[in-house]
Every structure is written in C-alpha cells, then in structure tokens.
C-alpha cells in the first residue's frame, strides 16, 4: 500500500496521535509535512522543535521525528531563543496554542518578535484552552459560552497576527485550517524565501471538541463553514463592522527579509572584540 507523505516525519510507534477524533491539529501537521516534502527536506536532523503546554504543544512532542523540547506553559519562546543562540545553525520551530503563546506567554512572543529573533513560531488559535477543557482564552470570540464564561464571553478577542505585524517581525501570516494550500505555501515561504528573523503563523482552527461540538457541528461541517468564513485581508477590510465580526481576515500581513537578531548580534560581538 502507498504511504502517506507525512509518515516519514512522524514517530510511527506513538501513532495515532493523542488528539480527539477530527482535531484540526492533525491538518496543520499535514501542511507542515507537505511543506517539508516540497522543500526537499528529507529528515529533520537540522531542526529543533520547542513547545509549551497544551494540546497544540503536543504536535512536535512526541509525534514529530526530530529533537524537541516540551517546556513549561508559556515558556517555549525563551527556551527556543536559547537553543538558537547556542547553535545558530539549527532551524528552530515553536508550535503552541493561543493560550500558551498569546496569554501566559504573550510577553515572550511580543519581545521575541520585537527582536526579530530567528525563529518560526506557529500558533494554533483554537479559541480556547483546549487541554484543560475549553475555558475562555484571550482569543475567544465575544459572546462565546465556555465553562468560564457561562453567560457568553464579555470580552473581545485579540488579533494576534496584527499585533505581531506591528513589531519588527519579518514575516506574519494568518490562515484558517480550511485553507490548506495557502497555509502549506506560507510555511514553505517562512522556511525558504524568508528564512531569517522572526516568522509568525497564526492558524485559525477552532477546537473540535470544545468549540465545534459545543456548537452542535461535526468537524467536517465546520471545515466547510470556515471555507466561507475565512476571507482575504483586502476583502475583510472592505466589509462593514458587522460583517467583519462574522469573518476571519486571512493572508500575509507582512513579508520582509531584514537581518534577524542572530546576524545583528554576531556583528555586535565582532565589534566588541575589536574586529572590523
């Protein structure tokens, strides 16, 4: 039987994954593996994956066949920064949740982006704290009922991609999990044309168990709904405020190729040592 393209990047002995049936985390894994395959990356020896705590943080560890560090809730980015500084030759990828990266780890995210630190950060925005059973996160839509917002979320969600686009980060994009091809292409770009500095991908992928099923929908129905709900940034900007609330703005927010922190810092060290 023919083999799935993703299997060579996975530790077969720990499959199937621990994710709920239909969990969209697995679709992001397909897009990531297809990007590796199309870039001709045969194995992941030159890659290190760093994650925090949460369902999304389980994507690299233990499933991806590469070195990984499964750290503390919110602290993936500082650990990843340490890895990159210790061995700048490595490709360092952080994968984590909206709670992990934007809530408890929000300040680390902001300042690694400000420094244009040479990392690729993939944030799964599933709108809740999935692993702890779907409590409200800073990304939860206004009005959504969760165990911590039984009368509907009184707060409004933060637009993480736009915030990161406002820093010195080189590359920022947001895609819905229903936009498989552009998501895969964006991952490829963030590993090839824009391979230095801070690269941030927000993946809008509602938690199948605590968002999608609570809405009474199947994961397949929700995917088809997202195919209509997710529009390009330009289209979204032309919408009325009411329409905007019902849609998700997706696309590339920013694509630059400024020297990342590592390059700048190497020059700084040379200067301090009196070299020209």
């Amino acid at each position: 039987m023919a083999e799935h393209f993703g299997l060579k990047y996975l530790r077969r002995e720990v499959l199937p994954t621990a994710f709920c049936p239909g969990c969209y985390n697995g679709i992001l894994m397909n897009a990531l593996f297809q990007a590796f395959m199309e870039l001709g990356i045969e194995d992941l020896k030159r890659f290190v994956f760093v994650s925090g705590i949460g369902c999304s943080s389980w994507i690299p560890s233990p499933f991806i066949k590469a070195d990984s560090l499964h750290t503390l809730h919110g602290r993936a980015i500082p650990v990843a920064t340490g890895v990159k500084l210790a061995n700048p030759e490595l490709n360092v990828i952080v994968i984590g949740g909206d709670g992990d990266l934007a809530s408890i780890g929000g300040n680390h995210l902001l300042h690694a982006a400000r420094r244009n630190m040479d990392l690729l950060v993939i944030m799964i925005n599933n709108q809740v704290y999935g692993m702890t059973r779907g409590q409200a996160a800073p990304t939860t839509p206004h009005g959504m009922i969760t165990p911590t917002t039984p009368y509907g979320n009184p707060e409004r969600p933060m637009d993480v991609a736009s915030i990161i686009a406002g820093t010195n980060a080189n590359y920022v994009a947001r895609w819905c999990i229903s936009q498989y091809i552009p998501l895969k292409n964006s991952i490829k770009d963030a590993l090839s044309r824009y391979s230095r500095g801070f690269r941030f991908l927000e993946v809008y992928a509602p938690c199948v168990t605590y968002v999608v099923r609570r809405e009474g929908k199947t994961p397949g129905e929700k995917l088809k709904e997202l195919m209509k709900k997710c529009v390009r940034i330009k289209t979204w900007r032309e919408m009325s405020p009411e329409e905007r609330e019902k849609h998700v703005a997706t696309g590339v927010f920013k694509a630059e190729d400024k020297p990342g922190f590592i390059e700048t810092y190497k020059k700084y060290i040379a200067q301090a040592l009196g070299e020209k």
Partner: protein
C-alpha cells in the same frame, strides 16, 4: 482515463468523518466498526477525481490517494 484509488489506514483512522463530508464527489462512506480501534472506518464507494482534499484534511494521516492526474 485516469483511475484513482483511496486507501484508508485502519490503524490510524479515528472515524471523524471529515473525509466523507469534504469529498466533492461523495466517493467515500462509512463501512462498519473496526473492532481493533472501536472507530468507524470509511471506504471508497464511488468515483474519485483525485482532488486530494480527503488526504489533506484527514487529521490522522490515514488517507492516501493513488493515481496520477
């Protein structure tokens, strides 16, 4: 004419039904319960046009579509 065949890896499939719902040709359907996993597994039941959507959107790397465009 090119023919496409859809293979399901029954060890990995969790029976979520995404492939069945996403297929533009309704080429897949559930076929009983797998006693090894307790999940329903899909099977090919109609003509496949090779679009690969079931393969991309299967979260468990359980689908392979074979055949060239």
């Amino acid at each position: 004419m090119v023919r496409y065949k859809v293979f399901i890896n029954k060890k990995l499939c969790k029976g979520c039904g995404i492939c069945i719902e996403i297929c533009p040709r309704n080429a897949l359907r559930f076929n009983g319960i797998n006693p090894e996993t307790g999940y329903r597994n899909p099977e090919q039941a109609g003509e496949c046009i090779g679009c690969r959507q079931c393969m991309w959107y299967c979260p468990d790397q359980a689908i392979v579509v074979v055949g060239e465009r």
